[in-house]
């Protein structure tokens, strides 16, 4: 799936994560801000990367501000942000869910 424009999903509320996805030439670059980055940073980035891979996104810039989100929330926010960024919100990728 191709990222066509910048999109945002999620909030900065407790237990949520705010994800901003934008275009990149190649590869996935994640800029993560989290109070629990030391302990869970790798795990959070892995969930985002895996979800992007499952959706067929190979090039994207991701800015993530985590407020203690669970994996399922991170995944849901990633999917929402990608669908907005790829302009496919009308045809959701159910198989990824």
């Amino acid at each position: 799936m191709e990222i066509k424009k910048t999109a945002i999903a999620g909030t900065l509320e407790s237990s949520d994560i705010q994800l901003m996805i934008s275009q990149a030439d190649s590869g996935i670059a994640i800029d993560l801000q989290s109070d629990v980055k030391k302990v869970f940073g790798d795990q959070i980035e892995a969930v985002i990367t895996t979800t992007l891979n499952e959706m067929g996104v190979t090039a994207a810039k991701v800015k993530a501000v985590d407020k203690g989100a669970l994996d399922c929330v991170i995944k849901a926010r990633t999917i929402a942000a990608v669908q907005r960024a790829a302009e496919t919100t009308a045809t959701p990728a159910w198989e990824v869910l």
Partner: protein, 358 residues
């Protein structure tokens, strides 16, 4: 238990709402409610507690967050702040704005950093931060790429000039020539905000057209990082001296720490400023803030006969339909442009475009 209240839009045109909003912000130490600041606000959001009192607010002006104030008396540390900033970011996202700035007091800088903002410059009085899908790192990389494409990097002596060039005159050209002679590479940053008689695209094009023969000069947009509504609103709005000094200090430090260091700029060139008070203060502040990291060179204004060349005089000649009097003040490229677009430019002045400011 407290019931969490939703974020809602505040209509500041309602005198009762405005009064409560202003009193709330004043209680938090925010005191500038001058008309020219308030006029820039596009939307204001707020949250009320169950007793109907305002507990958090924030506004947007273009892509700048303003008047963010939160009372944390009854909440978990930072939760209202995060709700408001989150709501403002989502509001801007709906408008297609993903790159945003905030100009805030030092004590709030950490709160913004906690929600992903990156600090650009600070003084004792305030901090500028940005966040979003692009940022200063992308900007300096793009600018450096332009120089690389012209085979001008690496260079050890690098000059820089920031100009509005409204429009590009022989005075500007003289400044660029001096810098081009003394450096291997010169960056000319053209002010990005589109609030002048000549549009941003026109100003940029005329600077490029007027400097094509100077092969070591790179003309780029200053984006929102140099003399913009974000860093230096007083350039565009009438402002008191202390505020000008404070804003220009932030602008100077942002230039020194983010732009000059990344682009290896060694000297910044300024035109001496006999007329504009705001620009005069800016020049003073640059001379205090930039050295020793960046040398500041003030070049005396170019004169034509007994007159000092200024873009203001060129605009006045346009308004007076007396273009011939300034023929010797501008490069041929600028003159041709003004001749070809005389009616458009004069129509803009007729419609109320201020020609006496910057």
């Amino acid at each position: 238990m407290l019931i969490e209240q939703a974020v809602q839009t505040l209509n500041l045109n309602d005198p009762a709402i405005f009064k409560e909003w202003q009193a709330f912000l004043e209680s938090l130490g925010i005191t500038n409610f001058q008309a020219n600041e308030l006029q820039q606000i596009d939307t204001t959001l707020g949250m009320y507690n169950e007793r109907g009192s305002l507990i958090a607010t924030g506004s947007v002006a273009g892509n700048v967050l303003k008047y963010v104030g939160v009372c944390n008396k009854f909440s978990t540390q930072g939760s209202h702040f995060n709700s408001i900033v989150s709501a403002l970011m989502n509001l801007l996202a709906q408008r297609g704005v993903f790159h945003l700035f905030v100009f805030t007091k030092v004590k709030y800088a950490t709160s913004f950093q906690h929600v992903g903002f990156h600090e650009l410059a600070r003084t004792d009085l305030g901090v500028i931060l940005e966040t979003g899908d692009t940022g200063i790192t992308d900007y300096v990389r793009r600018v450096a790429q332009v120089a690389t494409d012209q085979d001008l990097t690496p260079a050890s002596k690098v000059g820089a000039i920031v100009m509005n060039a409204n429009p590009f005159t022989l005075g500007h050209r003289y400044l660029v020539e001096q810098a081009a002679r003394e450096n291997e590479l010169v960056y000319v940053f053209v002010v990005n905000d589109d609030v002048s008689l000549f549009t941003t695209a026109e100003r940029l094009a005329l600077v490029k057209a007027g400097t094509t023969d100077l092969t070591n000069v790179v003309v780029v947009s200053g984006d929102q990082y140099m003399v913009s509504y974000v860093t230096f609103p007083a350039y565009f709005l009438p402002t008191q001296d202390d505020a000008i000094r404070y804003q220009t200090t932030l602008d100077a430090r942002l230039f020194r720490d983010q732009i000059a260091s990344a682009l290896h700029i060694t000297t910044r060139y300024l035109g001496s400023e006999p007329f504009s008070r705001t620009t005069g203060i800016y020049n003073q502040v640059l001379q205090t803030e930039l050295p020793p990291a960046v040398t500041v060179k003030v070049i005396d204004r170019q004169t034509s006969g007994d007159n000092v060349i200024t873009a203001t005089q060129v605009r006045r000649a346009l308004a007076a339909d007396d273009l011939a009097t300034v023929r010797d003040w501008v490069p041929a490229t600028t003159y041709q442009f003004m001749q070809q677009h005389l009616t458009t430019l004069q129509a803009r002045i007729q419609e109320g475009m201020n020609i006496n400011g910057n």
